[in-house]
Symmetry: C2
């Protein structure tokens, strides 16, 4: 952790102290933490200006919120409890202090809501563009992997699909103010996605595999199928989405089904489980869960039921190296 | 961890497996680790193209090496043992795969040398410029903080001073090939600094405070004085440096003493200890340690002995927000 002593000191006064686990937070060469109970999980995810966000339609607070949310979602996808956060920011000199202040105004309330503490970080100058890396450390007795799906398991989704992708198109097309006024829920799905941390914890011990839907359902199905060494069969007619999504899709000239199948950044959870555990799962999640298909024999293929037949479900990966 | 599946898969095949501690490495939503014994330390540090490195005089391998080295140094400065690494890279589309491959060619041998394992990471596209964040997790029975210096303690330095700063000036002035030929050791100090991990571990249990010298000795003295709530008095005539540094300083029209006092990025260690422990310290470090002064009463001041008097030692912080 280098320099920028005053900004870091000012920041560290604002960081709320939460229960346990932190022996030394911001300000030394490294944070000192009490080790995790059970297993530790660790993840890092980046938000890059011009790739993952655009300050024409999102605020620095949105960026701060989202940078933490996407990492909390990764921890949720392990069925783990998040505990500690490190934040690395590279920001152009001009407007740096203001950006950093507002960034934390978005990040800290979300941290508080999940009782996680910012324990360290780094500030750098960026010659051009804002770069954010957030690290979340968490703990779990028994993390749920993406490799545990077995033939015969059901496949289900928790959380909404397609809304964040529709929100992004609306924000780009209409600008922030008009888009937020016309479709607040869809814009919010894009700007302030809800990480399903509590859902993930409830699924630990029930789910056979778990992954968060950051790149779009079709891509995550492919990841899960490959990691588990099975094939997956889903019925798109089982997918649910809101009337708002239909509305917005019509306005945008897109298909709701395509948005739900391929639209990324909703941070919903994709889960598999044993048939005997379906009722327990529905009960634990109070009906928030939607079954969408089942795990079948095969090696890494994803099929979509199409009337009496099935055909390959193409995955339109949201890949930053291929996107324009 | 999102997308870029093939690059990540190709990479994860190259990551060497080291002893223990990793239950799931690269490829799931988060890494799964066996928790640390004792205390866990966690640090993140960034390297930004155009701020911390310039590809006109350093190679992608140098960047990979250095990105890990500066973080290992932070762990060394806690007297801790590094264990796990996460790497987040944002790279422009053009030349991305080649850069990433060479970056890891620099990083992985250093990881192997310290028996640390890369357990996760992130790859993003960058619209402009390369951004690297490396996270290192480590463990220690009793981490050494920067806040433990007490009045009467000696102050010492382990490792060379001023060489990395001189190396940087030489590389800028002469270009890589000529600078490396004329002053290989100084260029190496800049391009491939040695993180003093073993020294840090030996100092745990002896040192009263410990910090690594990333921003320059004068700045780190100021940080240590503030964190410990004491003042520090150093005698610049006790500093040692190589004949090469004198040579290069003359060539550059700079003063060796100024370089040793204010030049950053050597990743030497600044340490304090009780008088009774000096002999033990010298013995443990086999004479690699140089006493430079002592801890005195006061609140956060740094003094330099100047003949019969003392005067304030100005600290020229290497602060990325103020540097050009």
């Amino acid at each position: 952790m280098t320099g920028e002593f005053e900004i870091i000191k000012a920041l560290s006064r604002k960081i709320p102290r939460v229960k346990g686990g932190v022996i030394v937070g911001i300000g030394d060469d490294a944070a000192v933490l009490r080790p995790a109970a059970g297993r530790q999980v660790a993840t890092v995810d980046a938000l890059v200006e011009g790739v993952h966000f655009d300050l024409r339609y999102c605020t620095p607070e949105d960026v701060g919120y989202r940078a933490l949310a996407v990492n909390l979602s990764d921890v949720a996808a392990m069925g783990a409890a998040p505990r500690h956060v490190l934040v690395s920011l590279a920001v152009p000199k001009k407007g740096a202090e203001k950006f950093i202040e507002q960034f934390y105004k978005g990040l800290l309330p979300l941290a508080r809501r999940h009782a996680v503490q910012v324990v360290g970080g780094n500030l750098s100058r960026s010659p051009s563009g804002i770069f954010v890396d957030v690290v979340v450390l968490g703990e779990s007795k028994q993390p749920v992997l993406r490799s545990g799906a077995r033939v015969g398991d059901w496949i289900a989704v928790v959380g909404s699909l397609g809304e964040a992708a529709a929100g992004l198109q609306l924000l780009r097309k209409l600008g922030r103010a008009r888009a937020l006024k016309a479709w607040p829920a869809l814009c919010r799905a894009q700007l302030r996605p809800t990480p399903l941390v509590e859902v993930g914890k409830k699924l630990a011990g029930i789910a056979t595999s778990l992954i968060d839907i950051s790149d779009g359902l079709s891509s995550e199905l492919a990841h899960l199928a490959k990691a588990s060494g099975v094939s997956l069969e889903i019925d798109p007619s089982w997918l649910k989405w809101s009337a708002q999504l239909d509305d917005a899709a019509e306005f945008l000239g897109l298909s709701s089904e395509e948005l739900a199948l391929h639209g990324g950044e909703d941070y919903a959870l994709l889960v598999t489980g044993r048939p005997a555990d379906w009722v327990k799962t529905e009960k634990a999640l109070r009906g928030q869960v939607t079954m969408i298909g089942r795990v079948v024999a095969g090696r890494g293929k994803v099929w979509r039921i199409d009337g009496p037949r099935r055909r390959a479900l193409e995955s339109h990966a949201f890949d930053h190296f291929r996107s324009p």
